[in-house]
Symmetry: C2
Subunit: 469 residues, 2 copies
């Protein structure tokens, strides 16, 4: 057993003394309904940004700014007094997903509650909880040491859940003042069984809407049924023509740029402690389903997807209404893997949809958003620093995983700012991000604060030259 240093002890004492205030502050941030996708919550997004900015001022960060982007603002702050030490750009996002279906929440999404070791509420995990633990780690370090081991730049985004429409431009415009040695993104999670993890791959995204238009108004299904194409039937036919029964996507050229897993990568993934039966049982499904020839972990981490995110048209009420819907719609998105390009995938998707669309209706295909996939190297010194920090604080060496989700900004950091990216996130698996009853493990949150502080010490120990190695 290692003895704590006096510095470490002071840090722990500070955290212990502020445990109650910390939880209350966490809840305060969750209570702001910063749903970026819904225009009626624009003021709430700004309010969340201002709350964070005030908190950053309070704890001693400098150059705090609620920066305009054309959309929801970015919160920027820095602390640059660790002379000669590395500079890290830390990214989290303060916006959250919509909350519907509201009736499936066991408590109101923006009134966080603690149940046992869990806190429930929209954004407690994805990503306000992770953002908040960075705030608290910085607070405790500055309060107990009066300094930080590394230089930090915080970039907290407000549009991650709506495809980061404006962040790219803002990052490129601020390229100069964002200079750093690497970027650290906290928006990922732990492996099944809550095993500490570092994510080494993220999927990209192509998000589109398909609109199938028939007549100006709904038609009587008796008077017209049989004589005209039904937009909802047509939409179903289109969707069914996008993927075959073996889970292979039928869009021509879709797989052209997909980098296949190497035998070594497949072996590493197969060695992860993944209990497929427990996974299936937790989902409550009759069986798992995915692309033929790949394992479940490969399907969700290393293979592209095509999913309907929403579909609607015609009568949705109780009882029966005998109409041919005037129009029908679907939101359809693809998760992409290296080296797929969202714009190329969209073009292929659109062409295929129009090619298979029945002739009796008009079909429109629109791109709603996209992001590039990304891969980060396991052997980068910053990745290895994160691994040591996790092991030191969680008592267990991390596993390296491929996350099925997308953080579009990851590719921007790599490509536009030329920064290596480390994905160090603390969500528990099955945290219900994007779904009702999103939850965060308070143990992960609390230990995560220690991991972040430890990470900065590890990075400082490596030094600027070590990071270049």
């Amino acid at each position: 057993m290692t003895m704590m240093t006096a510095t470490e002890q002071a840090f722990e004492d500070y955290l212990a003394a502020h445990a109650e205030a910390r939880l209350e502050s966490y809840k305060e941030l969750i209570r702001i309904p910063s749903i970026s996708a819904l225009p009626e919550h624009a003021a709430d997004c700004r309010r969340a940004a201002e709350w964070i900015a005030a908190d950053l001022e309070q704890i001693g960060m400098e150059h705090v700014e609620v920066a305009e982007t054309g959309g929801h603002p970015v919160v920027y702050a820095d602390w640059l007094h660790a002379e000669g030490a590395p500079t890290v750009l830390v990214y989290c996002h303060y916006d959250v997903q919509p909350v519907d279906p509201l009736d499936l929440w066991t408590s109101p999404p923006f009134e966080p509650v603690v149940v046992g070791n869990r806190i429930l509420g929209r954004g407690v995990a994805d990503d306000k909880g992770q953002l908040h633990l960075h705030l608290r780690a910085t607070e405790a370090l500055l309060a107990t040491r009066g300094t930080l081991p590394v230089n930090l730049r915080f970039v907290f985004e407000g549009e991650e859940e709506s495809s980061s429409a404006n962040l790219d431009r803002w990052l490129r415009a601020n390229r100069q003042r964002l200079a750093a040695h690497f970027a650290l993104i906290s928006d990922t999670g732990f492996f099944e069984g809550n095993i500490p993890s570092i994510t080494i791959a993220l999927r990209g995204m192509m998000y589109a809407q398909v609109d199938v238009i028939g007549t100006e108004v709904d038609l009587h299904s008796g008077g017209y049924g049989g004589a005209v194409e039904n937009p909802a039937n047509a939409l179903a036919r289109i969707i069914a023509g996008l993927k075959d029964e073996d889970g292979r996507i039928l869009v021509p050229g879709f797989y052209d740029d997909v980098v296949e897993l190497t035998p070594d990568e497949r072996r590493l993934m197969s060695e992860l402690p993944f209990d497929e039966e427990a996974y299936l049982a937790r989902l409550g499904l009759p069986e798992l389903h995915g692309e033929i020839g790949y394992t479940t972990l490969e399907r969700r981490g290393a293979r592209p997807t095509l999913d309907v995110n929403g579909i609607w048209g015609g009568f949705q009420g109780e009882g029966s209404k005998t109409i041919i819907p005037a129009h029908a719609h679907a939101k359809i998105s693809c998760r992409l893997v290296s080296d797929q390009d969202p714009d190329r995938v969209f073009a292929a998707f659109r062409d295929h949809v129009l090619a298979i669309a029945p002739a009796g209706v008009r079909v429109e295909v629109r791109l709603l958003g996209g992001g590039h996939p990304s891969l980060t190297p396991i052997d980068h010194p910053a990745t290895q620093a994160a691994a040591r920090a996790l092991e030191a604080t969680f008592g267990q060496a991390p596993v390296y995983i491929r996350e099925g989700g997308s953080i579009p900004v990851c590719a921007t950091f790599e490509q536009a700012l030329d920064l290596p990216v480390v994905l160090l996130g603390f969500d528990p698996p099955d945290q219900r991000a994007h779904a009702p009853n999103e939850w965060m493990d308070l143990g992960n949150y609390e230990t995560g604060i220690r991991t972040v502080a430890r990470m900065w010490d590890e990075v400082a120990a490596i030094g600027v030259d070590g990071l270049r190695a």
Copy 2:
């Protein structure tokens, strides 16, 4: 030119004197939002029934009753003083379709407005307008003659738009007091070009709901995409598997009981003055689409259908939400033709849906309603009386048409009450029944009042023995 008799002149004078009151009364009935499918409108349905009952009392009908059925009430009334003359059972319905999508109405659906020769509002055509013209024809006859040429029994239903769930039982229970020589149903319309028509065939209906269930809550499409079946994709695959590209329904056994058109019937249909190009232009579609090997009139009048009436699942808001929906749903109905049986068709439909359902989701299929198709003989004396009445009042001999819609009670009158059925309706074609901006041609409505009165005179002239011929 035929001179009017004094009786006819008195009838016309009465109608002229009461034109304003008649329109106001018509509007009053439309203003009651008697949507039978929506539970929150149950009181409105009852209010409409009571409004009609009060009107019937007022004009001199007898035994007026708002009769309980277990659902929305039936309004019954009779006048049985035409000794030795035939008795006619008149059926209309006072319930209406839901009004969504509300934003496509140019005026509020339950605030009727007159624009030129049209009246707009939910139910002005289907079927309150037709019910109302029967009230007014009876009123004018009794007011000017003090008597009716035939005995009448009115049965006005309140659940036609929600599959007539309770009427069947009520009719069978009241079989004795509903004795008549034939039934006259006014719930159909005129042919393209507003040509007076008598409907000789109606389609039946099988209305079902398909529920596709995945996980308890929506899943993050990044974390799970590729590893699980998507309920919305699965639903699309099911729907696409119900009908092929040639419009043939793929449910095994679906066509077993379909009576094919004879060459003579096909010839008669082909001779109807149907302008397919004008029909297509009015619909504003790129092209018509239906079962291969049949004409448009055959497809909508004499062939069964399968249409999605509504579909929904997942995110329907603005922007993007990256989920795999927990469940997805569709309302799907089939219009049936003789001799298809709704229960047999449902069983075959359910079996097929379950057979083609992807294994990674649970699928449930429920029957929401049904009705038998029906055929009525052109050469029945009552049909011919209706034809003469139409020609005398509209100045043009009627055409005989097959209506694509369904009036389930039609089969019940034929089978349970053993009554021949005449379908004499006055809706203009393209009246937007079941859709926004439903309208009625006020010329059809006004002349329809005269047609009904003339019809009773024609039936009286035939007499009881003539009807048996």
